[in-house]
Symmetry: C2
Subunit: 329 residues, 2 copies
């Protein structure tokens, strides 16, 4: 049975929320879990559930700490204890704590699959059709075209195995549609992707992220983060303007009453909370990052997505790929 390690610490909403999420996630799916956090707060909650163990700790790594330093020094931090247990006996770890700590832990504790130069944080961009996977989302920068090609392989395999996309369509985030467009890195990456065995469908301009017919979008973490946060900021700004308009006067308030349920439904698929989190790819075990501001509902979703990741066998598949390419080399 799949065994998930759940980091109970580091979420904005605290340990209770994570405990609620685990309880909720257990209701509709069968799996084993080890929750890493304060025995005090968690003990009573899971006494009745034989498939949930508690790994006691009260320390954690915050967003303000230098991640690599903290991972090396804070042996009692929940993420460190969780990742060590993952190496020994777990299938996947999920955390809503510091992204930097998960990344550093991925390099230093979980370790990379042989041949993988960098780890890759994917983000699920919410859109009407269920979303597009974009990576790197801001964890890994200063990448070479060769690294971006590896990201293409990571994402394509993840989309196929964990998200059940058939022959995933891979796009490259770029400033124009033509192959010669972009900076030096983008031009070279386009060439490598075109020559690869991936289902590369070409460049994706940033204005088409929400509509382009692709399953995954490859990018360096700098531009990826800029795109994701511009999306988030623009969406937030638009929502605030519409909200303001709808409360301007008695007349617009009446108008609001007439459209609000349709508007809410139409905007729902664009909410990033439609997905619980995002995989960190390239490590020897499945690592899953839930939103820092998760609530019990979205964290429960993240637990299920993390289980999908583990059960898809994508880590084994990527390790086998890496073995093959070593033999060929």
């Amino acid at each position: 049975m799949t065994k998930i390690i759940v980091d109970a610490m580091g979420a904005d909403a605290g340990v209770e929320m994570v405990a609620d999420a685990l309880t909720k996630a257990r209701r509709t799916r069968d799996f084993e879990a080890v929750i890493v956090g304060p025995e005090d707060a968690l003990g009573a909650r899971f006494r009745e559930d034989p498939k949930v163990e508690i790994l006691n700790t009260t320390e954690y790594i915050s967003n303000d700490e230098a991640p690599a330093f903290a991972i090396r020094r804070k042996k009692e931090a929940s993420i460190v204890k969780g990742l060590r247990l993952l190496n020994e006996s777990g299938d996947v770890l999920v955390t809503a704590g510091s992204t930097g700590a998960l990344l550093a832990g991925g390099y230093l504790i979980t370790k990379r699959i042989a041949g993988m130069e960098r780890l890759c944080l994917a983000a699920m961009v919410p859109r009407g059709d269920g979303g597009v996977l974009m990576a790197d989302a801001g964890a890994t920068m200063d990448t070479s075209p060769e690294v971006l090609l590896q990201f293409g392989e990571l994402l394509s395999n993840y989309a196929e195995a964990a998200l059940k996309k058939v022959n995933p369509r891979v796009g490259l985030l770029n400033i124009g549609a033509e192959s010669e467009k972009g900076d030096k890195r983008a031009v070279k990456t386009h060439e490598l992707l075109r020559e690869s065995s991936l289902n590369f469908v070409g460049n994706v301009e940033a204005r088409d992220i929400l509509t382009a017919p692709v399953d995954v979008i490859i990018t360096d973490g700098f531009a990826g983060n800029i795109a994701l946060k511009t999306l988030e900021g623009t969406a937030r700004y638009f929502r605030s303007i519409v909200k303001q308009v709808l409360t301007t006067s008695a007349r617009t308030k009446l108008g609001a009453l007439l459209i609000q349920s349709e508007l809410k439904n139409a905007l729902q698929p664009l909410d990033y909370r439609a997905h619980g989190g995002a995989p960190l790819l390239g490590a020897r075990k499945a690592l899953y990052k839930a939103h820092g501001n998760s609530n019990a509902e979205t964290f429960a979703l993240a637990i299920h997505e993390a289980l999908d990741f583990a059960e898809s066998g994508v880590v084994e598949r990527l390790s086998a790929l890496s073995e093959t390419s070593k033999e060929q080399a």
Copy 2:
């Protein structure tokens, strides 16, 4: 009197639109103009206006041509004839034609101000407060931190002289607020900006482009283009969803009637047509890029903005700065 060279060719809407725009622009402001385009189509239009000359040509450079090659070869192209005339006797040139051709013409015909390594295309991001200038917008990539510092000087001077901003606040587009965030280029650029005499206020995260209290935002052209096009695409997507909601049923159509004028007013400042175009900075003359899909109203606005650019003396100011830094070196 300020003399503007107006490229009549290359706009999506054609020569007639540009002629209409020039007529409109002349109504509320006094200036001399040379319009470069087919005498046939333009002659009758400006026979009565002693301050408008026509420079006849029927050739132009399209978006599909390799710009540097076309600039060198097509001596009769409107942008080539316009830029040559600008060198001889003009103050500023405005075009709605190929951005690549304007950029190549800037390097090859107008030439750079001594010491300016690259040219910099600024974009005015529309927002409630009148807009923020972001550059480079996608023309200049693979920039070094030193080039980005020069962009900071170009933009800051332009914002002060042409846009009348007092002590313009300069931000750096980055993936986090802290000085150590970003890729290698961003970290080094942050350091150079902090040590410079510019009014550098720190990093601007992409989610805050529409709200950050800055006058200009510095970025490499790759990330700048990604940010601008993500903004554009997200705004377009949101508009389409709201429009769809408002026409779903008889009830939402009634709701639409009640809110439509307020909604239109609220969204107006976010329309990129609130500005006519964007300066290309770093050349020995003022160069101004109008939107390719300009209509007569926005192109007339672009003509006035281009005149502001020329009359602000920013080119002379940047040339003097460059002389000073040469003497100091």
